[in-house]
């Protein structure tokens, strides 16, 4: 935890140091107070809700609230006027589940500190249902800006972690302090079927058993507490247990469990837990629900579909197809046919992901979207894919606005552009679902964020800067490994070292090379008395990287890292 604090402090110092220039970058809320908190959006195509459109309408915002919307509305004199001719105005989008605003804590391999892996302390095992995401929010986390740029004004934010990471809150994507961001606290108990590396519960069967055990114990403790409150005298004092107490509102059905359940089997495992234990359930980040929609519907669970979609390979360019046609005359080899067949199956599978929202919508299911696993840069393209694959724009809009508002109990204040609602807006130059459209303004909680042209993408092929100090972590079956990577020198002449907090060793790097945003290097470690060459290949995105680490026959593992800011 202290490490995390340090990061915050460094960031704060940096802000002080750089002064305002850091904060007035594109799309950022101006540190200087706005001239007025009244805005008038004029002459816009206002989509109040799916299917409810006002052409050339006016929308007035006052003190963070929508105070008027319609045609022929008087514009208050004190309003800042936004000429929105030909622009589209939507209600700000609501993200059903994400880590927005919650910086990822540095992974430490705590499992090594555990003496008995079968009986680890709860925090190390990933059992922390008493934690509150409010204590982890960072308004300056870049995810807030990234989501806001896309038109998302609100997130259901949950902590990072494993089986029971803590309680979620509804947050607005604006506000200078964590508290200012929070719209509604303790709205869910976040759960996942993820085990802890090397310690109990490690596998899905361990997690399921532990979940049942905790839940039953909480029911029992809760009942005893109730008895105790009625007639304490003579009864053994119930011992306070924050883990079990966190389940009490769940047992009372005042707090829903939000479960991350991506694949078709995880979803059904979670539904099993629900039917056995009886809690209210929000299924989130669902990716493969198409074959079990009936089962989901019958369970009464609320549903958020993931905006992380598998990518379909681009169709071959024209020259390739013509060449392929030339070849048609030749007899195709069996392996070509096999490849074709496999590609067709794979594409058909991917199509199922793309068509899922349309399918579920046609079955009368209500759902929102969640972005727990989605990369922000893919989200708009993915939404377009869903629309291209049969989801009507109205249905897509509903899944971004009215449906999540309804599912999360926010309809009174969010989800549509109506009088009295919180001023969360997205303003685009074309229909949002048009690939060419651009987000021009986003209002969150009445605060305006203006977006000029998108920053130019990096010049293709330019080698990224890798020199400096990085921290990394990688999760292997042995547990989490962390340490530092230091890279010195310049292009074509790099040198460096990698350290491991697990082994305490520091090794030299070899073959360091940078190709565009790809960084690769190798190093040698000794495993079981054998020297094993470890190859690392990562993609660098400014101050973070992601990729794989391959340890010979021992396998490959994901690795990610973060640049350590220079002092």
């Amino acid at each position: 935890m202290t490490g995390l604090k340090l990061v915050f402090m460094r960031r704060a110092l940096l802000i002080l140091f750089l002064g305002l220039s850091y904060l007035t970058s594109d799309g950022q809320s101006n540190e200087m107070a706005p001239v007025t908190r009244t805005y008038a959006i004029k002459n816009a195509r206002i989509i109040q809700a799916p299917g409810r459109v006002i052409d050339e309408g006016v929308l007035i915002i006052k003190n963070g609230i929508i105070t008027a919307v319609g045609k022929n509305i008087d514009i208050p004199a004190g309003a800042r006027i936004i000429q929105a001719d030909s622009l589209y105005v939507y209600a700000g989008f609501i993200d059903g589940l994400s880590h927005t605003g919650v910086p990822k804590p540095r992974e430490e391999d705590l499992s090594k500190k555990v003496k008995d892996p079968g009986n680890p302390p709860n925090d190390i095992a990933g059992i922390e249902p008493q934690k509150d995401v409010r204590n982890m929010l960072d308004p300056s986390d870049k995810s807030v800006d990234e989501m806001r740029r896309l038109g998302f004004a609100v997130s259901h934010a949950v902590p990072h972690g494993r089986m029971l990471p803590g309680q979620g809150a509804i947050i607005l994507h604006a506000g200078e302090t964590p508290d200012a961001m929070v719209y509604k606290q303790q709205v869910s108990l976040f759960s996942q079927l993820s085990g802890a590396p090397g310690i109990y519960p490690n596998t899905v069967i361990g997690v399921m058993a532990k979940y049942r055990g905790l839940y039953r114990q909480a029911e029992q403790a809760k009942a005893y507490n109730a008895r105790y409150i009625q007639s304490a005298a003579g009864m053994e004092r119930p011992v306070s247990d924050r883990i079990l107490e966190a389940f009490y509102p769940v047992i009372d059905k005042q707090l829903p469990v939000v479960f991350k359940a991506e694949d078709v089997l995880s979803i059904q495992r979670v539904l099993d837990l629900k039917s056995q234990l009886g809690f209210n359930l929000i299924l989130a980040d669902v990716k493969q629900g198409w074959d079990i929609s009936e089962k989901i519907k019958n369970s009464g669970a609320k549903l958020f579909l993931s905006l992380d979609l598998p990518e379909m390979e681009e169709k071959k360019s024209e020259t390739d197809t013509t060449r392929a046609e030339d070849k048609k005359e030749e007899v195709r080899s069996d392996s070509d046919l096999e490849k074709q067949r496999l590609q067709a199956r794979k594409d058909a599978m991917i199509k199922k992901y793309y068509q899922q929202p349309a399918l579920l919508h046609s079955q009368g299911m209500i759902f929102g979207f969640s972005t727990l696993e989605a990369k922000s840069k893919d989200i708009r393209a993915n939404l377009s894919k869903l629309v291209e694959n049969g989801l009507s724009e109205d249905a897509a809009l509903a899944a971004l606005t009215t449906s999540p508002a309804q599912l999360l109990g926010l309809s009174a204040t969010m989800g549509t552009l109506d009088n009295g609602k919180i001023a969360n807006l997205v303003i685009t130059d074309k229909s949002y679902f048009d690939k060419e459209s651009k987000v021009k303004y986003v209002f969150v909680d009445g605060k305006m964020f203006e977006y000029k042209d998108e920053p130019k993408p990096k010049k293709n092929g330019d080698a990224v800067k890798v020199a400096g100090k990085w921290t990394y972590n990688t999760e292997t079956p042995q547990g989490v490994h962390t340490g530092d990577i230091i890279i010195n020198g310049e292009e074509d002449d790099y040198s460096g070292t990698i350290s491991s907090t697990v082994s305490g060793d520091t090794n030299d790097l070899s073959d360091i090379s940078v190709d565009g945003d790809q960084l690769s290097f190798s190093f040698t470690v000794v495993i079981d008395g054998n020297a094993v060459l470890i190859d690392v290949l990562v993609t660098v995105d400014e101050d973070t990287f992601e990729g794989t680490m391959t340890a010979g026959d021992y396998g490959s593992y994901p690795i990610e890292g973060e640049r350590t800011p220079e002092k």
């Binding site: 361990g206 532990k210 049942r212 089997l265 058909a348």
Partner: protein, 450 residues
């Protein structure tokens, strides 16, 4: 090739059946190996709504029912594998020497293509066992190979009694003693784990009994013992509600567990692998413990160095109910051949050899009233072979579960995956070097620090 593609496409959309199906089918004129009632030449078997309704000659198919001509073919009960880890997303919760609270039923993966490959070897039921990393592992699930669904519930054989996995010897001692530095590190420690676990469970049961007696008395101020899923399961073993399937190799440890069970009054016991079972066969028979063995695996670790492929024969001739199991996604595809090895190693009769993969494993799983032989009233689980199933030249032609044809060599496509991997790279060839191996220690490899 075109025809082929169409089949694949058709399968794509028809495979994902949701509900558990029951079929009606008439198998005509086969040589019926009933197992419990001899061999019936040129006999028909009628399965109606998933149940064998009639065995005899000249039977007529009900309207609309499929008729299968089995002339010249051998018709036997669906093969049952009492030890398998196919169709599981997790096998070992290897972090603690006792994990009675976990259940492989939570990890059923109905989309594992191994299920189909097992069907292609005539296997209709397998015992999806927890692994052998822990002295007391998890509860396990008996599954029917109803392939073509994404719903794990469809696979569960609801009539099957509860089972749990135990383990002796090298695996638990290496994982916990060797890997984590906690008891057990020796076979002495393994025994101690059982004794302390069952003693604790006894105390737990007693506390609950006391609580239940007193809780409704007026002015009761006491508290219930804290609910403990692990002890609940152990208590159910003591109550005789769960069949224990124990991974074991050496004669001494096999004998030890029987003594422990005698002391705690536990009777339902099946030893798995039990490579040195032959050394204590009279004792196993006397206890009433059963044995589920490999046909010929040995020497892959020290505790199986003093094994013999005659194990099954010796056990059988000493009166122990014995089955041949696979513990492997490879072996499960030819258990009929593994069973035939009891003829090479000990000269068992055809019926005795086939019992080892049908009625005997059914007894070990407590499902012999439903499956394991061709009898009227039993489930319509059937495997049809070209040539005698114990011959090396046999070919499984068709496998039927609950009257539904799940495998048909003449009409099946190559690619039998239910879901394709959206991230698979078409050009990369997957090659797993070495043997398919047993998966008993899957999810536990990381705990070997040696």
């Amino acid at each position: 090739m075109k025809k082929y593609t169409t089949i694949v496409l058709l399968l794509l959309f028809s495979l994902v059946a949701q509900a558990q199906q029951k079929g009606t089918v008439l198998i005509k004129n086969g040589t019926v190996l009933t197992i419990t009632n001899g061999t019936l030449e040129a006999t028909d078997v009628l399965i109606k709504d998933g149940i064998i309704s009639k065995i005899g000659k000249g039977l007529n198919a009900p309207k609309g029912a499929r008729t299968i001509d089995a002339t010249g073919m051998y018709v036997m009960p669906g093969i049952i594998d009492a030890h398998s880890h196919i169709a599981l997303d997790a096998v070992n919760e290897a972090t603690s020497p006792v994990t009675a609270e976990v259940w492989t039923g939570d990890a059923i993966n109905p989309m594992d293509v191994s299920i189909y490959r097992a069907l292609a070897g005539g296997v209709t039921i397998s015992h999806a066992l927890h692994g052998s990393a822990n002295a007391i592992g998890g509860e396990s699930e008996t599954i029917k190979h109803r392939y073509g669904t994404v719903d794990p519930d469809v696979l569960r054989m609801k009539e099957a009694p509860r089972t749990i996995k135990f383990a002796l010897g090298e695996n638990p001692t290496r994982v916990h003693g060797g890997g984590s530095g906690i008891v057990p590190r020796t076979r002495m420690g393994v025994e101690a784990v059982f004794r302390s676990s069952f003693s604790e469970a006894r105390e737990y049961m007693k506390k609950w009994d006391d609580y239940n007696v007193n809780k409704n008395k007026k002015g009761f101020k006491g508290t219930a013992p804290q609910y403990d899923l692990r002890l609940e399961t152990l208590a159910d073993i003591l109550r005789g509600e769960i069949i224990v399937h124990c991974h074991s190799y050496r004669a001494d440890e096999i004998y030890m567990l029987m003594q422990v069970f005698k002391d705690f009054g536990i009777k339902k016991l099946v030893f798995q692998h039990v490579n040195e079972g032959f050394k204590v066969a009279p004792e196993l028979a006397e206890f009433g413990a059963m044995a589920s063995v490999f046909s010929d695996w040995w020497a892959y670790k020290f505790e199986v160095y003093y094994s013999t492929a005659y194990n099954a024969t010796i056990l059988h001739k000493n009166g122990v109910v014995t089955s041949i199991n696979s513990d492997s996604g490879e072996l499960i595809r030819h258990l009929y051949h593994e069973a035939a090895k009891t003829q090479k190693y000990g000269g068992l009769s055809d019926n005795d050899a086939l019992s080892m993969i049908t009625i005997n494993p059914a007894k070990q799983l407590g499902i012999e009233s439903r499956v394991g032989s061709i009898e009227e009233g039993k489930d319509g689980d059937i495997a049809i072979f070209k040539n005698h199933p114990l011959s090396i030249y046999t070919i499984p032609m068709m496998t039927i579960v609950d009257g539904v044809v799940e495998f048909d060599r003449e009409n099946d496509a190559d690619d039998m995956r239910i879901y394709a991997d959206p991230k698979e790279t078409i050009d990369v060839t997957l090659h797993e070097t070495g043997h398919a191996g047993d998966r008993c220690m899957q999810d536990a490899e990381f705990l070997f620090h040696e």
